[in-house]
């Protein structure tokens, strides 16, 4: 309990420290990739709950990220000006659900407010996750992996083949997302520091919510399902319902990340929905130690940052494939739980229980 809030505080201090360091060393350009890494971390945190705690794999989470990102992109770029005399558009305008802006060439665009688009994106994600989850979560192991992989491929082909989604070009000119007056998610250079903090505050809140959940009655039931499903069933746990709700929750995390990153980048392309993205998310969850929120967050932030800075060059996807193989062979408990790391933690007087805080 106490430990949880201490760790959250330490994370917050670390986030501030990183920003201050980039300021001092005049490397604020790193903040862009750190912001993007934060949003990808959000996907991985949700997937960690699903894989590490509920014991269900998903090779289709890039699909949910894309559902979030594309829904928001379409709804906030679709120009309603030709329909502005229609009653429904008028009603929406009077309710403040629309916003008027200028495009890159000074033309007028009337589009849905990003908040409304965000809420619709989440609603669609929940609906899709529900419909997909009910049949798919009856499967186990390889079969579940293949079914979710299939879902991911379908989403990828849909966004690639539909003119509404911009086909291979994706959707660009996505407007900023005004969260509150004066606070907006956008890729504008002048907003870089603010956006870094918006992203990391969202991640910190997500971590707190997940740690709370894992330490609750629901978290205990999820770990029980993971450990001995028949026994959990016999204790009165509706295992199908718990798996489905966890699946939906992790999909909502992915979609939320998709929405925010799309507004931050000002667009989204089909590569975000690709199977390799899903594989990457799974690889990072594995590298983090499956059932470790802190491990997943650390790996997600570091690996995504390195990838986004281009350190892996054209081998980017190969690196994540290799990480998956190496982790499975040599560190199935995750990098932070290797004996070497435990020794380092002990040397640093870093409590060894820290990495497995959630699982304890």
């Amino acid at each position: 309990m106490r430990g949880r809030y201490l760790h959250i505080t330490l994370l917050s201090i670390f986030v501030v420290a990183v920003q201050v360091i980039t300021q001092i060393t005049d490397t604020t350009y790193y903040l862009t990739q750190l912001t993007m890494a934060a949003y990808y971390s959000l996907v991985i945190l949700g997937l960690t709950l699903l894989m590490g705690y509920a014991g269900q794999i998903s090779l289709g989470h890039a699909g949910f990220f894309a559902i979030g990102g594309y829904t928001s992109a379409v709804l906030t770029t679709y120009n309603l000006i030709p329909y502005k005399e229609k009653a429904i558009v008028k009603v929406m305008a009077s309710m403040g659900m629309l916003q008027m802006r200028e495009d890159l060439y000074g033309g007028q665009i009337l589009n849905l407010h990003p908040w409304i688009a965000f809420l619709l994106a989440i609603a669609i994600t929940v609906a899709v996750a529900y419909v997909i989850g009910i049949p798919v979560l009856k499967l186990k192991g390889h079969y579940l992996a293949m079914a979710t992989l299939g879902f991911g491929i379908i989403i990828y082909r849909i966004v690639l083949g539909t003119p509404l989604f911009g086909e291979a070009d994706g959707i660009s000119d996505v407007p900023a997302f005004g969260l509150l007056p004066g606070i907006e998610v956008s890729g504008d250079m002048s907003m870089r520091i603010q956006n870094y903090y918006i992203a990391w505050v969202i991640v910190i809140v997500a971590v707190l919510l997940l740690l709370n959940l894992i330490d609750s009655r629901v978290g205990r039931a999820l770990r029980a399902i993971h450990g001995a499903e028949d026994a959990a069933d016999a204790m009165g746990v509706n295992t199908a319902e718990y798996k489905l709700k966890t699946f939906i929750l992790s999909a909502v995390f992915a979609a939320t990340a998709g929405v925010f990153l799309t507004h931050f980048n000002g667009g989204i392309g089909p590569s975000e929905a690709s199977v390799m993205k899903s594989v990457r998310y799974v690889a990072i969850v594995a590298a983090g130690g499956m059932a470790s929120i802190w491990g997943a967050l650390t790996m997600a932030a570091v690996l995504n940052f390195l990838s986004l800075r281009g350190y892996f060059g054209s081998y980017d996807d190969a690196v994540f494939g290799a990480i998956l193989i190496v982790i499975m062979l040599f560190a199935p408990e995750g990098i932070l739980r290797l004996p070497v790391m435990k020794n380092i933690q002990r040397l640093l007087r870093f409590k060894p229980s820290e990495g497995s805080d959630g699982a304890s």
């Binding site: 009655r217 205990r220 029980a224 450990g227 026994a231 009165g236 746990v237």
Partner: protein, 254 residues
């Protein structure tokens, strides 16, 4: 009062009749045992009552309500708990957490309440913890509370399973070979605990190979052979029943 009423229960796997037209009743507050040679259908019968398997025909009436066809978790909600022949403790969880799972149906916190760590969920967790400790004290394993359950000695793990089943505060407890793999002293400990649980007002239905255990603690015994009931009586009468002796010792030796 009849707590559990099994009527004409049948279950086949392919051509094999694992349980064939079995009927018996369990009165409230007793220990009833189901015995029989290997392959007699004891485990199938157990899985039918606990909802793991669905019967081909017949009825299972618990507290005047038909429960055949319900899922195991729904049957648990109606007040039936069970242990497993092959231990099914939750790995990576302490004894306390394992037994806390028995309180699942008596608590309510869901996903949102859990994520937001609402004050009432914290209170609820505290209550669950307290009640679980009481159960551990009753069973006599409070000193093991913080140990990882699956790292305990085999005999202790059996007792943790018993505590977990008791934490559910069941009306009926199903015990699947609770003495399997235990030595004589451990078997005697388990026997004492089962009797104690019965004396707390919990009805017990037990499947067991260990004859001495069954004869010592059971109030009534049902004998199965090749999926059919061949006898149902008090232990003394069962010991003298010729058919039972024949089934157990082989026809030529009888």
């Amino acid at each position: 009062m009849v707590l559990l009423d099994v009527k004409g229960l049948s279950k086949s796997f392919g051509g094999l009749k694992a349980v064939s037209n079995v009927s018996f009743t369990v009165r409230e507050g007793i220990i009833k045992a189901v015995i029989g040679p290997n392959g007699a259908g004891k485990t199938t019968l157990f899985n039918l009552i606990s909802g793991v398997l669905k019967p081909d025909s017949g009825k299972i009436i618990f507290k005047n309500e038909e429960i055949q066809g319900l899922e195991p978790f729904q049957i648990a909600h109606r007040g039936v708990s069970r242990t497993f022949q092959h231990l099914r403790l939750f790995p990576g969880m302490t004894v306390l957490e394992n037994v806390m799972m028995g309180r699942h149906i008596h608590s309510r916190s869901g996903f949102f309440a859990g994520m937001l760590n609402m004050p009432w969920t914290r209170r609820e967790e505290k209550g669950v913890r307290q009640k679980t400790f009481e159960i551990l004290e009753i069973i006599g394993i409070a000193d093991l509370a913080d140990k990882e359950a699956v790292s305990l000695a085999y005999g202790q793990q059996r007792i943790v399973e018993l505590a977990r089943a008791l934490a559910l505060e069941p009306k009926l407890m199903l015990l699947d070979e609770p003495a399997a793999g235990l030595n004589m002293r451990e078997t005697a400990d388990i026997a004492r605990l089962i009797t104690k649980i019965r004396d707390m007002g919990v009805t017990v239905l037990i499947v067991e190979h260990d004859m001495s255990l069954v004869m010592n603690i059971s109030d009534e015994i049902v004998v199965l052979s090749y999926g059919e009931k061949i006898a149902e009586d008090v232990p003394l009468a069962i010991q003298k029943n010729e058919e039972v002796i024949r089934v157990y010792l082989g026809e030529d030796d009888a």
